[in-house]
């Protein structure tokens, strides 16, 4: 272990420190400002989070490493609790951007927007997510997961007077705590077998005769961890909470939950499996990686298929997006399965595909949910049929929603096309052409229900056609930023962001 360098260690958790300070500031402002000014807390939170999102980019781990390679070591800082690398960096940026946009999106939502504690809880949850992105220790991983989840349980039930919201919170809590429990069990097994908690040292202890001859312990632990992650990313068959929670929770919470929590979970998932269960550890004559890769492929296929097929029958736009998000998790798991590629380059490309997908998904899904928020705040309805005539009520809103849905469906020039393309490419590269084919067929099924929503907005008529839907300033910003980002990521910005994703993925495979 290297000598402790405070400077570098502090830099590694700079965003987290910032988040704590921001949380305190919000708490203070909530007390200090009168009711009439509390709306401004949203701006404070959004600007603060957006600022923090720049920190990981400015203090890039690669740059710090070049300044003082010896003190930086392999990037395991705080006694091995967190790893300061490019992968943590890109995912931290994602969750911070998601949180910033969520704060703006909540601003005019009744019962949510004017309450300081809402933003406080969002910030705390974000803290958990940033820690998840960099966690390099079993204990850190679990603490980060819980720091993420517990605030989310509260957020889901934030509208206390609303039965659906309360139900949503309770369901999320029950499922979530059960999944966490199983996962914790898995983590404790790993600790029990090896006597170590650092992700990067576990593997070498698993690689012994004892485990090789008896596959049960290691595979059992793996299965339990998979359940935990499966829950977090809402993969089938751990998805049952998703539609109810998405539908019941206040819409900004749903939006936040669907992107940030998923992104952070994929970050930890990729790091965890690559580090703890590598191919080099042989269990029962097969590399450990083979097992979870196959598991990921299976989960991917059933998540995509089930998510998309059930989404076809939905009438509520939030439930539709919930099933769509299950399917999106399925696509992303394709990237996890593709980690079985033969070369390190291929493996990095697979992880990069996951990172890129999540990056574009943050903007895409927030765009779609922003429109849903505006619509339901103006009309009180969340059913798809009521979107009829949206293109006449507010053409820009309809166009924004269209771009969002097309991106989810993977149609250029929206970002989703590149996102899916990278994933399919990785799947083919790792020799799973069949998985890519299942993926493209699913993309077509998905396109059907996205197109149906678009059709309702443009074709169907409604009696309320001449009632316009107002869009206030903060929402103009949210819609503008997300729309531009979605188009940019689908065209000229795809190259730099993908390179960034590849760089961060490489850090995962560097020793």
């Amino acid at each position: 272990m290297n000598e402790f360098h405070l400077g570098i260690n502090l830099l590694a958790i700079l965003p987290e420190i910032g988040l704590v300070l921001l949380a305190i500031a919000i708490l203070a402002l909530d007390l200090y400002w009168p009711e009439s000014r509390r709306r401004n807390i949203a701006y404070v939170a959004a600007v603060g989070l957006a600022f923090l999102a720049t920190l990981p980019v400015i203090f890039s781990p690669d740059m710090i490493r070049n300044i003082d390679p010896e003190a930086f070591g392999n990037g395991l800082l705080w006694g091995g609790m967190v790893r300061y690398d490019m992968l943590s960096q890109i995912f931290k940026v994602m969750v911070l951007i998601a949180a910033a946009l969520t704060s703006l999106m909540a601003i005019d939502v009744k019962g949510v927007g004017r309450k300081g504690e809402f933003y406080l809880i969002v910030v705390v949850s974000t803290l958990g997510m940033t820690l998840m992105s960099g966690a390099a220790d079993l204990i850190m991983a679990f603490v980060a997961l819980e720091t993420t989840s517990i605030p989310l349980y509260i957020l889901a039930a934030f509208k206390r007077d609303d039965n659906k919201s309360a139900e949503s919170g309770l369901k999320y809590f029950l499922y979530g705590s059960f999944a966490s429990g199983l996962m914790l069990y898995g983590l404790s097994l790993l600790y029990g077998f090896t006597g170590h908690t650092n992700l990067y040292s576990l593997a070498q202890f698993l690689n012994t005769e004892t485990f090789a001859s008896n596959p049960l312990p290691a595979l059992g632990a793996m299965a339990l961890v998979v359940v935990g992650f499966g829950f977090k990313v809402s993969a089938v068959p751990f998805h049952f909470w998703t539609p109810d929670v998405y539908e019941g929770a206040p819409t900004p919470v749903t939006a936040f939950l669907s992107v940030a929590s998923k992104a952070a979970s994929f970050a930890l998932l990729a790091r965890f499996f690559v580090a703890v269960f590598p191919e080099s550890v042989v269990i029962g004559e097969q590399g450990l990686q083979t097992f979870w890769v196959q598991l990921a492929a299976v989960l991917s296929v059933i998540s995509m298929t089930l998510g998309n097929v059930i989404a076809l029958a939905q009438r509520n736009i939030k439930r539709l997006l919930a099933y769509s998000s299950i399917a999106q998790a399925g696509y992303t798991l394709m990237g996890v399965a593709a980690i079985q590629a033969n070369t390190v380059d291929g493996q990095s490309q697979a992880v990069a595909a996951i990172a890129f997908y999540m990056f574009m998904y943050v903007f895409t899904n927030l765009l779609a949910f922003a429109v849903v928020i505006l619509f339901s705040e103006a009309t009180g309805s969340e059913t798809i049929a009521d979107l009829a005539g949206l293109s006449r009520r507010n053409p820009m809103l309809a166009l924004a929603m269209t771009i969002g849905l097309l991106s989810l469906g993977g149609v250029p020039p929206a970002a989703g096309f590149f996102g899916k393309f990278f994933l399919f490419k990785s799947a083919v590269e790792s020799g799973m052409v069949w998985l890519a084919l299942v993926g493209v067929i699913n993309a077509i099924i998905a396109l059907y229900y996205y197109l149906v929503v678009i059709k309702v907005m443009y074709v169907d008529r409604s009696e309320d056609e001449n009632k316009p839907i107002p869009v206030s300033r903060p929402y103009v910003w949210v819609l503008g930023v997300t729309t531009v980002a979605v188009i940019a990521l689908g065209t000229f910005a795809a190259q730099p962001i993908f390179i960034w994703a590849v760089e961060s993925a490489k850090s995962l495979f560097a020793a």
Partner: protein, 572 residues
């Protein structure tokens, strides 16, 4: 490639409509005339540039031919790719995603230059015929412009990824245009069917192309390393090219050198990559060209679409399918083409005859034209299947000829329907008295579609049959122990039957709609057409005649564009 700045004419052609669309979206929707003004300005600019590209390339055909002769003289592996790469003009090549070998690479050769011109013509015609659309004019024109941009992108893409990018880009605006502004009864069903059919075909082809890229990559790093180095030396590939690339030239070189012809694909001894993937890629794109049995979206789609969209769809988009099937299928996987086209030809035969027969049975004016497109596009695919210069050149001419002709047809139908408010053929009649322009234009189109000498249909269809006949000796189809030979000539005979049926339905429609008694009491307000409509008819009708009288304006160009493909197929 030169270092001096050249005007990026192809990019301008693609981006003018996109910019027009974005500008429109920021204009108040009630200022319809301004929006129409922007649309027609953009369309005219695009047409002017397209014509520049076409005639610019046409003036260089002699040079291209001379170069091709020189290259053919040398021969060797990479010759076909060399022919292809040398034939490209107006090239633009900017790296897009460098690590994946994706570049924004555009170019024009003898094959796509006519398509560029065709798209320009139909774009102008489409904007003009949509002049009177008042319901959300802004959105209509903006989506139409996006569609045009997508179509252009596909035609001029030299990078397979870029081709897919624009291909998918073109499909979506089409959905909205049909679903929103189409014929009320059918539009939602037809729009969705069309979109899903076309997308399924193309995404399966996309997976095939990704797999092809990996195959080529492995080949160039292994057995084909020498070919790769040699290609870099001779300038077919750029000096800094990697082995992993989506570039068409790159993939074509791999195919020519036999990368896709290695036995043992997917662990099966007798399979090669080309054998497995060719049908998926060729038919995947062929869906858009209406290849049987995946033609089913086409008549419904065309009938449901608003006139402008029918025009661009039948006129240009179906060509997109046929073009991409040739470029991505035959040109990249020639070994697959040799195996599979001999049976795919039967599908195209069904297209030709069955399409014509169904067209004959229709009562709805627009359905007649819709099925006639299926029939005529079958001839294009049949021309590809002939795999010789005569037949394929004919198919290329047919793409252009049918594009202009069917757009003209749909224009005529639209003009009649706008005034008569019905498309039921038996209840129409005598329209020549009120709409002489339309009647003349329709008859010109009709004669073209029958293959009347002196019009473009003849110089397109005749070579297709001739080419098929000539190919008959060389093609055989083996199913198990049974070998079928010399059957192309029989196919020609049967396909010619399709032309007879075509003549029958064209004459029937002409007689019933334009001649006979005019029912004054039913159609009191039918008058002659506006000046914009006349421009459309002239714009689309004239090329049919010019090409019919003077085929040299296009045929040599197509031949030069097809030579690389034929060099791969071992023919001449």
């Amino acid at each position: 490639m030169t270092d001096t700045f050249t005007f990026p004419i192809l990019s301008v052609i693609i981006f003018v409509p996109i910019i027009a669309a974005v500008v429109m979206l920021f204009i108040d929707g009630s200022r319809r005339d301004l929006i129409r003004g922007i649309a027609i300005t953009a369309a005219v600019i695009v047409l002017a540039l397209s014509a520049t590209v076409y005639f610019g390339y046409n003036s260089q055909v002699a040079a291209v031919d001379a170069n091709q002769a020189a290259v053919t003289e040398v021969g060797g592996v990479g010759m076909a790719t060399q022919l292809f790469a040398d034939g490209l003009r107006y090239e633009e090549n900017v790296p897009w995603i460098e690590s994946l070998g994706i570049s924004y690479h555009l170019g024009v050769d003898g094959l796509n230059a006519p398509m560029v011109l065709l798209t320009g013509m139909v774009t102008v015609a489409g904007v003009l015929i949509s002049w009177r659309i008042d319901d959300r004019t802004r959105e209509f024109m903006a989506f139409f412009m996006l569609l045009v941009a997508g179509v252009y992108g596909v035609f001029v893409a030299i990078d397979t990824f870029v081709l897919f990018f624009f291909y998918e880009l073109a499909i979506f605006p089409m959905y909205l245009l049909i679903a929103t502004w189409g014929w009320v009864k059918l539009r939602q069903y037809a729009a969705m069917k069309l979109t899903l059919y076309i997308l399924i075909g193309s995404v399966i082809a996309l997976v095939g192309v990704i797999a092809m890229v990996f195959t080529a990559d492995a080949f160039f790093r292994g057995d084909g390393a020498q070919v790769f180095e040699a290609a870099k030396q001779s300038g077919i590939l750029s000096q800094n090219a990697g082995t992993f690339s989506f570039n068409m030239t790159h993939l074509m070189l791999a195919g020519e050198a036999g990368a896709y012809n290695v036995l043992g694909y997917a662990g099966v001894d007798v399979l090669t990559f080309a054998k497995i993937w060719f049908p998926f890629i060729f038919i995947g794109f062929g869906v858009l060209a209406g290849v049987f049995p995946f033609h089913n979206w086409s008549p419904d789609g065309h009938v449901a679409a608003p006139t402008a969209v029918s025009m661009i769809h039948a006129g240009v988009l179906m060509k997109l399918g046929a073009y991409a099937a040739l470029r991505m299928g035959v040109q990249l996987l020639p070994q697959g083409a040799e195996v599979h086209l001999p049976w795919i030809v039967f599908l195209t035969l069904i297209n030709v005859v069955y399409g014509a027969f169904i067209a004959f049975r229709q009562r709805d004016f627009k359905y007649v034209i819709g099925f006639s497109s299926v029939s005529h596009m079958g001839l294009v695919s049949m021309g590809w299947a002939s795999m010789n210069i005569i037949g394929m050149t004919g198919a290329g001419l047919q793409m252009f000829s049918h594009g202009a002709m069917t757009a003209l047809f749909f224009g005529c139908v639209g003009m009649v329907y706008d005034r008569a408010h019905t498309r039921d053929i038996p209840s129409l009649g005598g329209f020549v008295k009120r709409m002489p322009w339309v009647a003349v234009a329709f008859i010109i189109g009709g004669l073209t579609s029958m293959g009347m000498p002196g019009l473009s249909g003849f110089i397109a269809e005749f070579p297709i049959f001739q080419g098929m006949w000539a190919a008959s000796e060389n093609v055989s189809l083996t199913i198990g122990s049974f070998t079928l030979t010399n059957y192309y000539s029989i196919i020609v005979v049967i396909a010619a039957l399709g032309i007879v049926i075509t003549a029958a339905y064209v004459l029937r429609v002409t007689t019933q709609v334009f001649f006979g008694d005019f029912k004054d009491e039913l159609y009191p307000e039918v008058g002659d057409i506006a000046i914009t409509d006349r421009i459309i008819l002239i714009l689309l009708g004239t090329p049919l005649i010019i090409l019919g009288i003077y085929p040299t304006i296009m045929a040599p160009m197509l031949e030069s564009g097809l030579k690389p493909v034929l060099a791969l197929l071992g023919g001449g």
